[in-house]
Amino acid sequence: MRKSLDTIIETIIFICGMLSIVFVVLIFGFLFKEGFAFFKDFGVSKFITGQFWYPSSEPASFGILSLILGSILVTVGACLIAVPIGIMTALFISEIAPKGVRDVLKSLVELMAAIPSIVIGFVGMVTVVPLVKNIFNLSTGLTAFAGAIMLAFMAIPTIVTISEDAIRSVPWQYREGALALGATKWQTIRRIVLKAAMPGIIAAIMLGIGRVIGETMAVMMITGNAAHIPHSIFDPVRTMTATIAAEMGETVRGGMHYRSLFAIGLVLFIITFIVNFTADLFLGKKKNR
């Protein structure tokens, strides 16, 4: 009796272990099913390289190039802000801050990660957007630049947490060796610690990028949602995520527009898959060393 109960439970545990695979396959399958139906009608290359996103005009045009560029512009902008700040913060927390301060800082970073994106979007809308408008004298503050600033705040916790992990897991002997040779603490950090932690830091950056690309609500509220090819970071842009979130409500279930949004989802899925897979490779490299 006891034995067979054990077997049943262990079978359940095994099934739960396999569910992650099932879900990934299911998600991909569903996106692919709808996306494929769309590609058959519209064509992949026209979809990816088309400049015009006019889903509800006659005839409709489903080119997502401007959306892809929008996503890239916001992501690059956010990374330019978040990566240096994130890595420097991680260095400060793990190498310089005294223990008490370190715990407080880490908790604050964790709180930052917990703030819902909708709240960040709202605060960005009432503070950063008008600020950008006035400072740069623009007709609207709803721009890729404002979006990049807010998204940087959301990527920083990810980058800090994972980089900090990587920096802390650099063995003590490395530092002692350098310090014993007469290097200052900063020289040790810059030349030895940073180098040894590099795979983990790259993984942190990748995961930060993943977070930014996938971000939806804040982007939708701040970037202006204009589906045209941006010329500068001070243009309003529309990202792939915002397009899905904003337009899904208006589509006819099963229609061309509906399917095109799944196709965008498929593109996003593939991008984030590659980003996370690469990050995982770097994290694995760190572990094997």
Partner: protein
Amino acid sequence: MIKLNPKLSQKFSYLLLCVATILAIVPVVVIIFIIIKNGASVISWEFLTSMPKNGMCGGGILPAIVGTLSIVLCAVLITLPIGVCAAIYLNEYAKDNLLTRIVKLAIVNLAGVPSVVYGLFGLGVFVMFLKLGVSIIAGALTLSIMELPVIITTARGALSSVPYSFREASLSLGVSRWQTIRHVVLPNALPGILTGAILSIARISGETAPILFTAAAFYVPHLPHSPLDQVMALPYHLFIISTQIPNMPKNIIYGTALVLLMMVLTMSCVAIVARIYFRKRRKW
């Protein structure tokens, strides 16, 4: 280029790192401050416990609070047992083989899928294919899949922090593997698993994109009666009143944001404090 004195360059660099840290931390404080300063005035018992009035320009946000709580609780009830079991599988049973590598890759990938793509998936599978409609249960299922990798990862961390020797001691007495897990490993991993669960509740309470097409409704004049009802949800409500309704009184928007923020931050703080507490009084 002038070569800087190493001591001086160290001082300069430390200053730079310190400034960066302040830049990273200040937004948290500023965001919380802005929301509290502008929102605190509307918070009252009535605001929390009454229905919206005048096209949501007045009254309270009760249905949104209840809606969010019901979606989130359902989601956690679904995801926690599955996630803990999956963590047990990975930490206690899985051998180092191809299958395990694929499972781990799947988890990494699930963790990285954008929230709006989960929304699409939930719409396609739960709302349309399983015909659950836009409902609490469809939203909860969507959120539970999204939260699964997080629960698995934290639960695994908690399990692996239980010393291996405890397992050996129990097994050497003839106690079976599952019994060892159930009576030695799990009780000692429980605090870690629960703090992880609280953090996930906090996280999914604020998610908007996954419930956008699966659970959330613009306005529902009554509280939910069954899991198949559409509901209002705090984050979605905040989205609507801040972007879709012109002339919305600003203090109601801030008040709604404050309630959402406090809900999320309180749970996060509880989890952080609990984690520190349990780590300190751990018996081994």
